[in-house]
Each structure stands twice: as structure tokens, then as C-alpha cells.
Subunit: 183 residues, 2 copies
DNA sequence: GTCTATAATGAGATAGAC
DNA sequence: GTCTATCTCATTATAGAC
């Protein structure tokens, strides 16, 4: 892995752990084992490096989601697999957590991958629901599922425990099972 | 309003707008129209001031929630009123947004009001659901409702639009209406 | 109680040697 | 390509005058 790649990977980790505003170029350099000159040779500055890091993380998240959502089973089974996927709940969502950072939301270039990722995810879930669960509004229910996940992370971090996340996921799956009549 | 109160109010606003890490004592002082000496006379420092600000915001949020949840109607009607309450969606939840800030989550004193607030809210919603909606797991569904709200804020900020928030709320209410058989 | 120094530390980036 | 100064500004506080 070259220096530029190590810088991007370090940035990805730090954005997940601390967010954008609280991540300093200095910390990125230290974790990547690179000097300042090296960083400013490969990237124009912190925003440029962060943009590359966020795009890479967004692409990875989408690939991981597709694995569950294109898997075997009907809509509710695929969504269940997606929601039950192993996650580092107390670290939060590497994309969703950035939505609280003013430095991200106020910069169109940095916010764009977040918007694109969630718009795609809601659309894909809505497709699945429209096919198999006619009893519900597919678009609204898809938004609820993604929001449950993102809000579950928030509640877990506030509680210092994964329990609220697991409850929230169980709750939305319970409601979905009523909609399919397979309760 | 005395100087100490103005400092706390300024801190509350800035915590909501920027979070804890990105809020500087300097910014607090400027907004409150107070000097540095004044702030350090009334408070030991930024964490002390933030603790007071967060406790005050949490108390206010709880009072506002109780107004809807103790209002007229059955469980689903009260929850609907709570979810439809007017909110500044793109600013996010003044309590929930702090859960993404490492400076809050890593400090037990600053995290405690978040935990207490969400634990109370989930409990209160679960009480209402247990009375009127026997078809669902009250605790899990309560967690889903709170998570939908918190996740709805995240999606709205990522999108730069209130639309995903409104969809998520509509979705969870649609699912709840199935559970009561009043669809 | 409130004010104005003062100061140590880090952020974020540029310059120029190697 | 990478390194080590260097620079400017903000952060977070302390000290002491008023």
C-alpha cells in the first residue's frame, strides 16, 4: 500500500472514530506514518483527503448492503439479513455519523456521498418492499427501516450499550411481520 | 437574565448548532456578551458549563415530550401527536446529536443526561403501547419509534432536506396502524 | 464580578532543502 | 516524494488589575 493509500485509510478510520471537525491532519499523518510534506504532496489539504476517504467508505457500505439485499429469500428475509448483519454498533455508522458534523453538512462536496448513499439504500429497500409487502407504503417504510438503523446507533451511543439498537431492530422487524400477515 | 444564565443559554445554542467539540469557550463568551474572566468566574471551564447546558436542554425536551404523551387520545393518537410535533428537523435533536460527539460519549458526566432522557422516553412510550397495542412487543416498538425519530434527523441532514424525516415518520405510523387493525 | 494581559498547545498550511 | 522548519491563528486556560 502506497503512502497516498495509507493516508486515505488513516483518514477513514479517524473520520469514523472522531468525525471530520475533530480529525486533524497531524493525527492522520501520525497514524499513516507519513510527514506533513508527504500529505500535502498527495492531497490539497484536509477537505480533499476527507472527500476521497468518504467516497471510499460510501462505496464499501453500498457493496456490503448489496450483498444482503441481493441475497436469497423474499423481501422481509433479505431485510432481516441486512439488519442482523454484524456491526460495530457503539462506533456508529461510518457514513451516518458524519451527518451530524457541521463541517460535512456545510460542504456540498463532502455531503454528497452521504446523500447518494442513503438515497440509493432507501430506493433499493423500497423496490424490495413494493414487490413483496403490498400492505405498506414502500417508500415511507424504506425510510423507516434506514432511520431505525441510524437512530439505533444514536440510542446505543447515548446509552453506552448495544441494547437499544437491538431493541429498535427487533421492533421494526416485528412491525414488518405484522404487515406480511406472517406474525 | 444574569451573566451566568446568558452563558448557559449561549452554550445550549452552540451545542445544538455545532456540537461539543466544535464549540469553543471563546464563541460562547462572544454570543453571551461576556468576557473570559466572567465565564471562568461562574464556571470551572467548558465541561462544567456544558454539563449545566445539557441538563437544562434534557429537562426541556422531557417536558415537551410529556405534553404530547400525556395528552388526549389513545396510545397511537398520543404518539402520532408527539411525532408530528413541530421540529427544526435540519438542526437535528439537541440531545441526540450530542451522542455522535466523542467528547460527550467519553465523559460520563456529559453522557448521563442523554442516557437518562432516552431511557425515560422509551419507557414512557412502552407504557402507552402496553396498554393499547397488545399486538406488538412494547419495549422493542418503543425503541423503534425513538430510533425512527433520531434516524430521521440523520437522514434529513444527509439529504439537506426534511423529506426523509417525514417519510420515516409516516412509515412507522403506517406500520403502527396495521398493528391496531385500524388501517 | 468583570476586565485585559499572557501563555502553552495544537490546527492547518507553506517553503524550501534533500 | 519526503523531510524539517516556519508561520498564523484559535483553543483553553491562568494571573492579576480594576
Amino acid at each position: 500500500m502506497g503512502t497516498a493509500d495509507r493516508l486515505v485509510e488513516s483518514t477513514r478510520e479517524l473520520l469514523w472514530e472522531r468525525g471530520y471537525t475533530a480529525t486533524s491532519p497531524r493525527a492522520i499523518q501520525e497514524r499513516a506514518g507519513a510527514g506533513q510534506g508527504s500529505m500535502y504532496h498527495h492531497f490539497r489539504g484536509k477537505p480533499d483527503l476527507a472527500a476521497e476517504a468518504i467516497r471510499r467508505t460510501a462505496a464499501e457500505l453500498r457493496t456490503a448492503a448489496e450483498a444482503s439485499l441481493n441475497g436469497p429469500g423474499d423481501a422481509v428475509e433479505r431485510i432481516t439479513a441486512y439488519l442482523h448483519r454484524s456491526r460495530d454498533v457503539l462506533k456508529g455508522c461510518p457514513i451516518g455519523r458524519l451527518a451530524q458534523d457541521p463541517g460535512i453538512v456545510d460542504d456540498p462536496v463532502l455531503r454528497e456521498p452521504l446523500d447518494t448513499t442513503f438515497t440509493w439504500l432507501r430506493g433499493r429497500l423500497a423496490e424490495l418492499l413494493a414487490e413483496d409487502v403490498p400492505a405498506v407504503d414502500a417508500g415511507a417504510t424504506a425510510a423507516t427501516i434506514v432511520a431505525t438503523l441510524q437512530g439505533g446507533y444514536v440510542l446505543a451511543r447515548a446509552a453506552g450499550s448495544t441494547e437499544p439498537f437491538e431493541q429498535a431492530v427487533a421492533g421494526v422487524l416485528g412491525l414488518l411481520s405484522l404487515a406480511t400477515g406472517k406474525a
